[in-house]
């Protein structure tokens, strides 16, 4: 069975919704996704790190459209691992664990990885929204579109815009 390493933030967890909501709560300003194309999250939302530091940022993040159903199917045909670079935000570890249990009850604890650098990850396929993770990976790489990466050429990575595209290419 092929191993797939699936990123969480920006692939399963809709963190932009959280940023936009919290920015609006703080400044009363509505930020559109289009207006932050090509910007890092830190450039797009000035208090980005403060929002990430809250107790419920990860716990309350909505899931990205279509991911639950496709992930459940992938879980039948592949060895699926959810791999999150969570160690930069150690307070998020328990939030993220609970979030996974809530939204993806078919994922066992054996399949969860919280790391710092993803250069330690061995799999056949990696799905991620960050070039810094995909660029070091030697297997098949799938770039999940998010505003921060949307203006950049995918290069050797295969770009997908939705989980429905992932369903088509992997199932």
């Amino acid at each position: 069975m092929q191993k797939i390493a699936v990123d969480m933030d920006g692939v399963l967890a809709d963190v932009y919704s959280q940023f936009i909501k919290m920015h609006h709560q703080e400044f009363g300003e509505s930020i559109s996704l289009e207006s932050v194309y090509g910007k890092t999250e830190g450039e797009a939302f000035v208090h980005c790190r403060k929002y990430i530091g809250t107790e419920s940022f990860f716990r309350d993040a909505p899931i990205i459209d279509g991911c639950r159903n496709v992930l459940e199917q992938l879980n039948q045909e592949y060895e699926v691992y959810l791999v999150s670079a969570a160690m930069e935000f150690p307070w998020s570890l328990s939030q993220k664990f609970e979030w996974i249990k809530q939204h993806f009850p078919f994922i066992g604890w054996q399949q969860i990885v919280f790391c710092g650098s993803k250069q330690i990850i061995a799999a056949d396929i990696m799905i991620d929204d960050h070039f810094k993770n995909l660029d070091h990976f030697t297997g098949r790489t799938i770039l999940f579109t998010q505003p921060h990466n949307i203006l950049r050429e995918a290069g050797r990575h295969q770009r997908v815009n939705t989980w429905y595209e992932i369903e088509k290419i992997l199932l």
Copy 2:
């Protein structure tokens, strides 16, 4: 630079001291290491899982003799990752993170991995006390002696009994 994946429990963290201490507190019985040779931790300590479930089991674990100094030197010459199968005990995640910061301040968050199965780990060398982790690993494997593995032939793995031996073979 070669990557080394270093296990925590039973390699850096002296969990047997914790088991023996807690068993003594509960039953007033002193268990020697020799008396549990060849037994799993669960066989050796009937309330093993209860002890692991306490708030301070991992936080208060002493470090194994010699590991701090050798790990600090390894960290200069290798790409070191501390890899713990912590996901089975999700309440331990923050304890373990704090424990690493306390005892190994030279280890950055980028170098910490909390996982379930270690079959997702890519490195050149793995140091672990469990055959189930080493047996799947394709790189160089170093078996750290603990009572549960001491009676078994190391097979293709290289057995070490102390961190001083690791210093000799890797530095």
